[in-house]
């Protein structure tokens, strides 16, 4: 028994314990304190784990139950940063909802308890070794976060939750068929063993699985987890769920959950790539990715609801990441992972900022949200920098990663897809800039009723992602680049 065997399980168990504690707390103040301490402790543990992986490489617990490699560490880093920022913002957000009687005590207790439950399922997905249990974790994220999307008992929230639950459950059921087929193929090679679905076993490139079964399996996996990632044409749940959830949860969905789904997809893609001859996996990823970016553009342009617009921008970014994963090669993979990180920071800060604006203006319609910069200077700056970041304007970090994706595309001779991607990103940039200029600048109408100032909990936490997107564009710390490098080596099959 060494330290690692306690450490990794405790990262999964701690949020569960905190969540269960929240269920039994009758006072709002106590809930806030437990939530704050719990979320901070979880994130510190996660960051500690990440730094350990950076220094000492991948680690595996007893019985090979958990496996944390550099790829998981990148995801854990994203989870920790987004989870902590959204966690602190939640306190301000929920206080405001409470004072306006939009949520009652029972709902607040459920919110905090489920927040930690949701966090735990996402961490579990990233650190578990068995790909079957990874599926279980993925379905668990759907079920837990569906409760969170449904926290307001409004007609729209019920509709969004219903679509989210049914589409993702049906999609992910197809992914389960893919997992079963992969397991059948592994049984033929290895015999019936409980390790037959372990990543540590299946990631061995000399394991010759049956190509026909693996191709079929990957097709189901791509459709199934692709639904969860929000790849077009399976993205219909995404804008509804993102716009109806409480804003901190939208930030978690967009900045953390979708990346976990992408992580699951990529784990299976690596296994499939080893077995299949030809470039099936690459072509499928590039195809679905480009389609997502293409579909997102017209919806972005005509959107009136601010949070829906951000959700379609998320569809676009997931498409870009899928294309980059499809381009592959050491450069393509590291660009994809860097893009994942940057998008998470930029988009979570936008959704949290959007939450502030919606609470202050009492509307989600962009037509009525004019002059944010004057009325709420801090949030206005956050929105401005966030929107410039996610549209890929230099010097912010998304520009750097998108530029690297283009370079990787040209290097790998995927000329046509890269040019199409560049053109589409330029179009999306124009569409979002149009909305941005009207919303952030412009005169705001005179406010009739005196308004409550925003709590510091709702504003200060946003500084963290904001500093990261600004600095990461020009300078990335040595250890961070190393981590991304190691993770992309795992995907590109370069033994370290």
């Amino acid at each position: 028994m060494n330290l690692v065997d306690l450490w990794v399980p405790s990262v999964v168990l701690l949020p569960i314990v905190v969540g269960l504690t929240c269920v039994f707390l009758p006072w709002r103040r106590a809930l806030e304190v437990v939530h704050l301490v719990g979320v901070t402790m979880t994130c510190v543990l996660l960051l500690w784990l990440v730094s350990h992986v950076v220094q000492a490489g991948a680690m595996t617990t007893d019985h090979l139950f958990f496996h944390v490699d550099a790829l998981s560490a990148v995801l854990l880093l994203i989870l920790a940063l987004v989870g902590w920022t959204a966690g602190l913002h939640s306190i301000g957000y929920i206080r405001r909802e409470w004072s306006e009687k939009a949520l009652n005590m029972r709902q607040i207790r459920a919110y905090y308890a489920l927040y930690h439950g949701f966090f735990a399922t996402m961490i579990f997905v990233v650190v578990v070794n068995n790909l079957g249990l990874l599926w279980v974790g993925m379905e668990a994220t759907t079920v837990v976060s569906a409760f969170l999307v449904a926290i307001y008992h409004k007609a729209e929230a019920i509709e969004a939750t219903w679509k989210y639950l049914l589409l993702c459950s049906a999609g992910i059921a197809l992914a389960l068929l893919g997992v079963i087929l992969l397991y059948a193929s592994s049984i033929v090679r290895l015999g019936v063993r409980s390790q037959g679905l372990d990543w540590t076993v299946l990631s061995n490139p000399n394991l010759h699985l049956q190509p026909q079964l693996v191709l079929l399996s990957f097709a189901f996996i791509l459709v199934g987890f692709g639904t969860k990632v929000g790849l077009a044409p399976m993205h219909f749940w995404l804008p509804d769920a993102h716009s109806q959830a409480p804003s901190p949860i939208s930030a978690l969905l967009s900045g953390a959950l979708l990346n976990c789904a992408m992580f699951a997809l990529i784990r299976f893609a690596v296994v499939a790539e080893d077995t299949l001859s030809g470039h099936w996996v690459q072509h499928l990823l590039i195809g679905f990715g480009l389609l997502s970016v293409f579909v997102a553009f017209p919806f972005l342009l005509v959107q009136r609801d601010f949070k829906r617009m951000l959700a379609f921008s998320t569809v676009e970014h997931m498409g870009i990441i899928a294309v980059a994963m499809g381009i592959g090669g050491p450069l393509g993979y590291s660009a994809a992972l860097f893009q994942m990180f940057n998008h998470s920071m930029g988009k979570s800060m936008l959704f949290l900022g959007a939450g502030n604006v919606v609470q202050q203006y009492r509307t989600k319609q962009m037509g009525r949200m004019v002059g944010v910069l004057r009325r709420m200077p801090f949030t206005g700056v956050v929105l401005l920098i966030g929107l410039l970041t996610v549209t890929g304007v230099p010097p912010f970090s998304v520009f750097t990663s998108e530029f690297t994706i283009f370079v990787a595309g040209f290097q790998n001779r995927d000329i046509l897809p890269t040019i199409v991607l560049m053109a589409l990103i330029a179009l999306v940039f124009a569409a979002m800039l149009y909305h941005l200029l009207r919303m952030v600048f412009g005169e705001h109408e005179r406010v009739k009723s005196p308004e409550l100032p925003l709590s510091r909990w709702s504003t200060w936490p946003l500084l963290l992602p904001m500093v990261l997107v600004v600095t990461m564009g020009v300078y990335a710390p040595q250890s961070f680049s190393e981590l991304i490098q190691h993770a992309s080596d795992i995907l590109a099959r370069i033994p370290s």
Binding site: V143, A160, K163, L165, L177, D240
Partner: protein, 213 residues
Amino acid sequence: MVSLQVLSVGLMLTTISLLYWKRIVTAIRILALQSFFLGFIAIWMAARTGTSDLYVIAALTILVKGLGIPWVLNYTLKKIDIHRETEKLIGRELSLLAGGALLVVAYVTTSKLKISGMDVPHGVLAISIAMLLIGLLMMMTHKKAIMQGIGLVVMENGLFLAALLLTYGMPFLVDIGVFLDIFVAVILISMLTYRMDRVFQSTNTDHLRRLRG
């Protein structure tokens, strides 16, 4: 082998008949019966391969899917207590026809699949795929929220059968996790159905039309 075939025909008949019945209560009973058949197949498989894990899985199938899920669904139905008939986009005859067509599709696609090491008849695998497809069909054509939930459970049942045939069940912990997930999903479906009834005075999903574009 004969008992396997009899049980799998039972599965097929229950699945097809779900497309026929008009009362939701009957559909829930049929779903329970189907899960019992599935549990017996798991017991048969356990006896044949001598894996003790599978007995536990079989017991869980009967407990969770045969008794637990139907109880939750019935409870919800009693609470909302109105409009107990199903409503569909397409008529009864057309949906039976579509179910038959899906069965043919399942047979044709699985007969082409070569899986070395599988020693059960291909027809049974075809039935599992047909259950998956018909479950999906139910989710798409039914308008009542509870019936869409039943479609999801039928899909899961088909997957469970496929896992039994192809791999003698998934690794133990995975199976447990799958049960847990589907059970919580059904509870959530029931909860949402209840809220839908409170807000729209109906559980017809046609009312869910506000979020567009």
